[in-house]
């Protein structure tokens, strides 16, 4: 892995080395002459029509007529002369350093970064769980998935309640996905073998098996799992599963009703936004079912550089928005024995990070339901990425 480097020759303080000269209203022509007179700067181009990417090199600068602003190259002496002119009366009203701005695209910041995972996974560090005194103690977290490796050594002594809603299969995880999700949301911070990977490390674990060992399931089983979690007073339901949707497809009225009823009983449902995008080719798929329901918290995925994962579904319609993001690329967590641990990627991995953080907030603040949602969103780190991809941003432990 490599660390990001800046090779565009610009200053490291976020400025470009150029200056913005604010001209007095209706004084563009006079201001342009003044630039030349006091600082010897010849503004060759007068160009509102100059589009992005225009080459400013070669000219001393350019004037943006309609804005009344000149962008100029100035050496320290010239800058000092301009600053004096700005302080005095005249056509030059102000001077400031030009700041570097970035295009708001996912590709822009997709940079590999080196992360030290010797003690904690990058995901735990990204949400600040390793710094939190909250552990989720006293909070019930339901993970609806492929079940759980009930004999996993990392969970020895933990309180685990398991139930299968898949006909003919026990809650024992015959796949691995469920064990991975339980590990991220509720696993240990000090497993004794490898880095800490669990967020709500003292939460009460409710394992609802709603997907078969083959990884498939249907609405009825998932709804049964949600009802079971509500009945058992789980403050958080983590669902790293769903079904793809098409643009314009309405959300399920049934799941929305179920979610509002769960909320009324203190249960927040957190669900994966889906992995159907391929941003490497520019394709962004809509948030899947049932994360597209307004009352279900939809989770997208970011990588260790806090760039949006290429597969992460986005907000495509007026409904079905991504609400927050969590770590979802190259995530280490528990896996059924004998493998014990495994690294996988997906919004499925981002979702239990958010569910775990929700449990910490629930413990630390007493918040449930919509209040818990609000605290998750309010405390999330804002990111220089489209809100349609990341919602309120990257969730943070209290």
């Amino acid at each position: 892995m490599t660390t990001p480097s800046r090779d565009d020759g610009t200053a490291d303080d976020g400025t470009t080395g150029r200056y913005l000269v604010l001209l007095e209203d209706d004084s563009v022509a006079a201001g342009t002459r003044e630039l030349n007179r006091i600082a010897g700067i010849d503004v060759a181009a007068t160009a509102d029509a100059t589009g992005p990417g225009a080459d400013l090199r070669g000219a001393g600068g350019l004037v943006l007529d309609r804005l009344g602003v000149a962008v100029v190259d100035a050496d320290p002496d010239q800058a000092e002369a301009l600053a004096r002119a700005a302080a005095a009366s005249g056509p030059i009203a102000g001077l400031e350093r030009e700041r570097r701005v970035r295009a708001i695209t996912a590709e822009e910041v997709q940079t590999a970064v080196a992360v030290d995972e010797s003690v904690f996974t990058w995901g735990l560090q990204a949400v600040g769980a390793q710094l939190s005194t909250a552990t989720g103690a006293g909070i019930r977290v339901a993970v609806l998935d492929t079940g759980f490796d009930l004999a996993h050594p990392d969970f020895a002594g933990r309180q685990v309640t398991a139930e299968s809603f898949v006909p003919g299969e026990s809650a024992q995880d015959g796949h691995g996905h469920g064990t991975h999700c339980v590990g991220t949301s509720c696993g240990p911070r000090e497993p004794g073998d490898g880095p800490g990977y669990g967020i709500a490390s003292a939460a009460e674990i409710y394992v609802g098996k709603v997907l078969s060992d083959g990884g498939s399931g249907s609405d009825g089983g998932i709804l049964s799992g949600i009802a079971w979690a509500v009945e058992n007073g789980c403050a958080v339901v983590s669902m790293s599963l769903g079904a793809a949707t098409q643009p314009g497809q309405p959300f399920s009225r049934t799941f929305e009703r179920v979610a509002t009823r769960a909320m009324a009983q203190g249960t927040l449902i957190v669900a994966a936004a889906g992995n159907e995008s391929d941003r490497r080719t520019g394709a962004v798929a809509p948030v899947g079912h049932p994360a597209n329901c307004p009352s279900i918290l939809a989770v997208g995925a970011v990588d260790a550089a806090e760039a949006i994962a290429y597969f992460s579904c986005g907000t495509v319609d007026r409904i079905g928005s991504v609400d927050v993001v969590g770590p979802g690329v190259d995530v280490l967590s528990s896996w059924p024995m004998p493998l014990r641990h495994n690294r996988i990627s997906g919004t499925s991995m981002a979702t239990p990070h958010v569910a775990g953080v929700a449990a910490l907030i629930a413990q630390a603040t007493g918040a449930r339901s919509w209040a818990l949602w609000a605290r998750l969103a309010q405390s999330a780190i804002r990111q220089p990425l489209p809100s349609t991809d990341v919602g309120a941003g990257l969730v943070q432990a209290p």
């Binding site: 498939s216 609405d219 709804l223 009703r257 179920v258």
Partner: protein, 75 residues
């Protein structure tokens, strides 16, 4: 065309219906719903019904809506 067979459906119950769920479930059975699960905490009944019976289910007092079950869930 072959007979598509019974449809697997999700029946959402309104708030009034949730207060008298046993009676409502009996009404649903009476109009032909083969009930799989009654999820009382969230007010949903799952089951299957012949396509011709869907309108009858929707007309039962206390039913808020009926939706086809999706079975294409995955990760």
């Amino acid at each position: 065309m072959t007979d598509p067979g019974p449809l697997r459906v999700l029946v959402t119950v309104d708030d009034d219906g949730m207060g008298r769920l046993p009676d409502l479930v009996a009404d649903l059975r009476a109009v032909g719903l083969s009930v799989d699960a009654v999820l009382e905490h969230v007010g949903v009944v799952t089951g299957s019904i012949d396509p011709a019976g869907v309108a009858g289910v929707r007309a039962v007092l206390g039913v808020e809506g009926i939706e086809l079950e999706r079975s294409d869930w995955g990760f």
